[in-house]
């Protein structure tokens, strides 16, 4: 691809992603902005003042979202990494069924599954709790972890690990010194995916959290479609910020260093 077209493509993506964000930024600083004005007729900081005030509970929700997102990511790694490896590198009876079952949560609407899960969680007394929310977020998150990591392991050669073993590294040190560095770029992407999936959950959090677990999306979604566009815009920017930050960090770490994830690393 010529540099002209490449530049155009990147620019186009930039416009598509950036322009809506720009509108949100303007909205968040607008006090009065009515049709047909191109820009707000009056500017103000009231939306941001509200965001940073205690009564908005944005700070608290941000921490809750972060905590739940991190927990979901770590648990997804714990469950998904061994599963992905097994699926990519080993053949076993019922493998097709397992692969199919893993895809089901992506296909079946989350609300349907969550209703069933809710009943179970009530019995287990973990409804209306952060633990319950973390667990229900795992349903959509784990399949993505497994899908990404299975593709990483599909391009992975265990000969490196075997070499390390015969050179005197036990299983733990082989993982730490050889396996982890090799799969790290892919693992970062998968972790980012699972974090963002948890971050943007609304219905599942609402049902299982029962209004007691307040994540950022719990504050944001009711505001959307309400009359207070400025506040909605400000909170939505807070909502988007970690995602952009994480994406930037991940893209950077992917560009540096060798990648086993074909297509996402630098050619």
């Amino acid at each position: 691809m010529s540099s002209f077209w490449r530049g155009g493509l990147v620019g186009g993506i930039g416009v598509v992603v950036g322009l809506p964000l720009l509108v949100q930024v303007i909205w968040s600083f607008a006090f009065r902005w009515y049709f047909p004005d191109l820009l707000p007729s009056e500017w103000g900081l009231h939306a941001w003042r509200y965001v940073f005030s205690d009564s908005s509970r944005v700070g608290e929700a941000l921490l809750t979202s972060l905590g739940i997102g991190l927990a979901v990511s770590l648990l997804s790694i714990g469950i998904g990494l061994p599963a992905a490896r097994a699926l990519a590198l080993h053949d076993f009876p019922g493998k097709g069924l397992v692969e199919w079952l893993l895809l089901v949560p992506i296909v079946v609407p989350g609300v349907v599954a969550t209703m069933g899960v809710h009943l179970v969680f009530i019995h287990l007394r973990i409804a209306d709790s952060s633990l319950g929310v973390v667990l229900v977020h795992l349903i959509p998150a784990v399949p993505y972890m497994i899908l990404v990591m299975a593709s990483v392991f599909a391009n992975y050669d265990t000969a490196l690990e075997e070499t390390a073993r015969t050179l005197g590294a036990d299983a733990v040190r082989t993982f730490w010194f050889v396996t982890l560095p090799a799969i790290l770029p892919g693992l970062l992407v998968a972790t980012l995916f699972t974090f963002l999936i948890s971050w943007s959950q609304y219905v599942t959090t609402l049902l299982i959290g029962g209004g007691r677990v307040i994540t950022l999306s719990m504050l944001l979604f009711p505001l959307i479609g309400g009359s207070n566009n400025a506040t909605a815009a400000a909170i939505s920017l807070v909502f988007v910020a970690p995602a952009l930050l994480a994406l930037g960090v991940t893209a950077r770490s992917l560009a540096n260093g060798p990648s086993v994830l074909g297509g996402l690393g630098r050619p």
């Binding site: 000969a159 490196l160 075997e162 073993r165 015969t166 050179l167 590294a169 036990d170 560095p181 060798p258």
Partner: protein, 346 residues
């Protein structure tokens, strides 16, 4: 004392027997080739010795100690693969020092020994380079250094030269051989290339379908194969079926004198002579057979002749400057001392 002993080693994968009742004794400081076509169980054997794959039956001993219960990381058998040689995220120095680091050596000593070893494999000053900055041959040398630096009980090489081009392969063969002899390292390497095995190994274990065919010095596999299959693997397809009577081998109308005939009792045998030992002659001399030329291919150092001898197809090396039109006849002389008798094939 034998450094590595395999006793009735067997490995099954489901119904497939990959390695079948393999027994070998490898002396300390010896270089042994596991030779055979792909899928003959040679890599499986190597992985079992390394401790990466448990055998279904049999025993593996290093010295007088069974190592079956010893995990790979404590066994001291280092395995060098043909590809994916180096840890990609580490420098050359870190790669070579990996085994020493796992053994808990201090950084200073690791550094000294890594440098020593890099000099031995003729890559001094390469510590800071990364794997992807090296050529295939250099990577192979670093992989070798990484294995040798921990002074393994036995060095295991799985097709170490398969990914290199022809010139580099020759160079690496010599390097591997000289290092192995300089360090008096016990080494086992797997190859499907009989030429490589002959050049490198003190002894060759030839495997077909997981079964040991012959374990002997390279010369013996060439000159004294134990079966037609072994002879054929070493590119000798020249076989005649007949009877040995006294000093003579009788095949149809032909009588041939056989050197060393006393070692065999009279009876049915297969006679074989290596292609390069057969002499072409214009006239009938003693110990000669009439042959018809089917095809002749000029090979540079010799002419490869495809002959029909007593209804059998033979391959024979003739002089490079000869002229052998297809369909013409000629006499081939079999030197009595070069004739080898095989038990009749079942």
């Amino acid at each position: 004392m034998a450094a590595v002993v395999l006793q009735h080693l067997t490995r099954r994968f489901g119904n497939v027997v990959a390695v079948n009742d393999l027994s070998l004794e490898i002396a300390a400081g010896e270089m042994v080739a596991l030779l055979g076509p792909s899928g003959c169980g040679k890599s499986t054997t190597l992985r079992m010795i390394a401790g990466l794959l448990p055998p279904t039956a049999g025993d593996i001993r290093f010295g007088d100690r069974s190592v079956l219960a010893v995990p790979a990381e404590q066994r001291g058998a280092v395995l060098v693969f043909q590809k994916h040689l180096l840890f990609p995220h580490m420098t050359v120095g870190e790669n070579v020092g990996f085994g020493l680091r796992m053994r808990g050596l201090r950084q200073k000593e690791i550094h000294v020994r890594v440098q020593e070893m890099l000099e031995l494999v003729r890559l001094p000053g390469f510590e800071k380079r990364r794997a992807h900055e090296l050529s295939g041959g250099q990577q192979q040398r670093v992989a070798l250094a990484r294995g040798l630096v921990v002074r393994p009980a036995v060095l295991l090489l799985d097709e170490p030269l398969a990914n290199l081009d022809a010139n580099l392969r020759l160079e690496m063969r010599e390097l591997i051989r000289s290092l192995q002899q300089a360090l008096k390292m016990t080494a086992i390497f797997v190859t499907h290339d009989q030429e490589e095995a002959v050049m490198l190994a003190d002894r060759i274990a030839l495997l077909f379908d997981g079964v040991l065919q012959q374990f002997d010095r390279p010369r013996a596999l060439y000159e004294c194969p134990r079966s037609v299959q072994v002879a054929r693997f070493f590119r000798n397809e020249n076989v005649l079926r007949g009877r040995k009577e006294g000093e003579r081998f009788v095949c149809g109308e032909s009588h041939l004198v056989v050197g060393g005939a006393k070692e065999h009792p009279d009876g049915e045998y297969l006679l074989t002579v290596r292609p390069e030992e057969v002499r072409i002659s214009d006239s009938q001399v003693e110990n000669s057979l009439w042959a018809r030329v089917r095809a002749a291919v000029y090979m540079g150092t010799h002419t490869q002749l495809l002959l029909e001898v007593e209804g059998q197809q033979w391959r024979v090396h003739g002089p490079a400057d000869g002229c052998y039109p297809a369909g013409s006849g000629l006499w081939i002389h079999l030197p009595p001392q070069r004739i080898w008798l095989l038990p009749p094939a079942v």
